[in-house]
């Protein structure tokens, strides 16, 4: 684990309901889970992440597996919560530029803050431009560190299907980045806001 604790000890304690183990797991997994939900355009990413972890902690007693398996399981729950949220809201996910967490953490060097802000906005726009399934595959690979097989499991799809989605997503991404580069001019930051 990134915390340096032995995963088996943490898992055993968490399965017994120990608060300290919950906290260790939360600190380890919550940033990527929340980022995943946010980049999917969830309206309330923090709430969805909270619901995800409540589901994880209350259902942890029935889990068995290693750290990778736990990560895949957590993202499976997060993805289902996200899909449920989409259905509840009956509309396509909307990319949100209201990144309050980011705003809360910028500070210090103005130029760095601007670059960070611009970079984050660009990532949101690039992700938002991808179809849901392609975005899901790429984000699960990048943020959750899942393999293609694990992504297939999370999404309930076949491995070839996921590979195809990944290929199309990467291609679309490259095209958008290249187009953006042409429009903003050579030497510009590659993730400046795209002009549509």
């Amino acid at each position: 684990m990134r915390t340096g604790l032995v995963f088996d000890d943490v898992l055993t304690a968490a399965q017994a309901g120990a608060a300290w183990a919950f906290e260790v797991l939360y600190r380890d997994l919550a940033p990527s889970v929340t980022g995943y939900l946010r980049l999917h355009g969830a309206v309330e990413p923090d709430d969805l992440a909270s619901e995800t972890f409540i589901g994880v902690f209350t259902g942890l007693g029935g889990f068995s597996g290693d750290e990778e398996a736990l990560r895949a399981w957590v993202f499976t729950i997060a993805h289902r919560r996200l899909v449920d949220d989409w259905r509840r809201r009956s509309r396509r996910p909307q990319v949100t530029d209201d990144d309050t967490d980011l705003a809360a953490h910028v500070g210090g060097d103005v130029e760095d803050d601007v670059l960070l802000r611009v970079g984050t906005e660009s990532v949101h726009r690039l992700c938002g431009a991808l179809p849901d399934d392609q975005r899901t595959v790429l984000l699960l690979r990048i943020l959750a560190d899942l393999t293609v097989e694990q992504v297939a499991q999370v999404m309930g799809r076949s491995v070839p299907s996921v590979k195809a989605l990944q290929r199309r997503g990467l291609r679309a991404l490259r095209d958008r980045i290249e187009n953006a580069g042409e429009k903003v001019g050579a030497g510009a930051h590659p993730y400046e806001p795209l002009r549509r």
């Binding site: 604790l5 000890d9 304690a13 017994a16 309901g17 120990a18 608060a19 300290w20 183990a21 919950f22 906290e23 939360y26 600190r27 919550a30 940033p31 990527s32 929340t34 980022g35 995943y36 946010r38 980049l39 990413p45 923090d46 709430d47 992440a49 909270s50 619901e51 972890f53 409540i54 902690f57 209350t58 967490d101 980011l102 953490h105 960070l116 970079g119 984050t120 660009s122 990532v123 949101h124 690039l126 992700c127 984000l139 690979r141 990048i142 943020l143 560190d145 990944q166 290929r167 990467l170 291609r171 991404l173 490259r174 980045i177 290249e178 580069g181 590659p190 993730y191």
Partner: protein, 302 residues
């Protein structure tokens, strides 16, 4: 025009960027995108109320953390217990001293050696003695109490919060390890140990809560136990008992129980274990006080 070879190169570059390996120049933008995505996911977000409660309390009431980070919280209970034991020690030690002063010369020598050993053990456990003395005491204690788990536990507890040199006497000297190994029944059956006076044995017996509980469960009280034992061993009258340093009236009234229980209950009323102990002591005091009130008054007026 994108060819399958381009796609393959793109996928390989993507895998390389995920693994942190160098990527070709053509895929530098893709690698930068991967890094930018990851950099947006460094904060856990704000947990809602339900999750915050879960993170704070878990799903248990009793949690023991093996981590150093949470050791302080986990150590709260032992620290309180140590404080309670220190208070008990502070009250019991003068009583022991009084007994010692009223005992005969042989008894004084024997008991005095025991007290020195116990106090030195306490000082040694806290590590305030010089190296030579520390080593000597460690050796002696190790020889005498090698299997004493109670003493080991107390040392650990004391070490947790010993920051004040005034706490040197912290180890619980009233929990004499040798006696603690015997059940109440065995204790009564065995009587005084070799070299131990009858008065000393009675004095030590008086501080065994488990003995009193056992006696209660047998429908007896402490005084009757002492009297029975004395009669079995040829000490027939109260005068002879007094000569042995035993005052039956004193033993049955438990004069210090009431205030001790009151103080402990006030200080640790949120601590189940100690509260239980305190209430037991209070119960003893009330029960015995009712039964022996007349006799005590007579003693008090002497």
């Amino acid at each position: 025009m994108t060819t399958p070879a381009d796609d393959l190169a793109l996928e390989e570059a993507f895998e390389a960027s995920l693994a942190g390996r160098p990527v070709p120049c053509e895929a530098a933008d893709l690698a930068a995108f991967t890094g930018a995505v990851r950099s947006t996911a460094t904060q856990p977000g704000r947990p809602n109320a339900a999750l915050a409660e879960l993170l704070a309390t878990g799903l248990l009431t009793d949690q023991t953390s093996p981590s150093v980070r949470t050791a302080g919280a986990a150590g709260t209970l032992p620290s309180r217990r140590a404080r309670v034991r220190r208070r008990r020690f502070a009250m019991i030690f003068p009583a022991l001293l009084a007994k010692l002063l009223s005992a005969g010369a042989v008894a004084q020598a024997a008991t005095g050696a025991g007290v020195v050993l116990v106090v030195a053990t306490g000082a040694g456990a806290t590590g305030v003695l010089g190296d030579e003395v520390q080593d000597t005491i460690t050796g002696v204690v190790a020889g005498d109490e090698a299997t004493d788990e109670v003493a080991t536990e107390d040392e650990t507890i004391v070490d947790d919060e010993t920051t004040d040199p005034g706490d040197v006497e912290v180890p619980v000297t009233t929990e004499l390890p040798v006696e603690a190994e015997l059940t109440p029944e065995e204790w009564v059956e065995a009587g005084p140990a070799e070299g131990q006076s009858f008065g000393e044995w009675v004095s030590l017996s008086a501080h065994r809560d488990d003995l009193r509980e056992w006696l209660r469960s047998e429908g007896r009280n402490f005084g009757s136990m002492v009297r029975d034992w004395a009669q079995k061993n040829g000490i027939d009258s109260d005068a002879e008992l007094v000569e042995e340093g035993v005052d039956l009236a004193d033993l049955t009234e438990e004069p210090t129980s009431e205030p001790v229980a009151g103080e402990d209950t006030t200080q640790v009323d949120d601590e189940a274990e100690d509260t239980e102990v305190a209430s037991t002591e209070r119960g003893n005091g009330r029960g015995n006080g009712n039964g022996n009130g007349g006799g005590n008054n007579g003693r008090g007026n002497k």
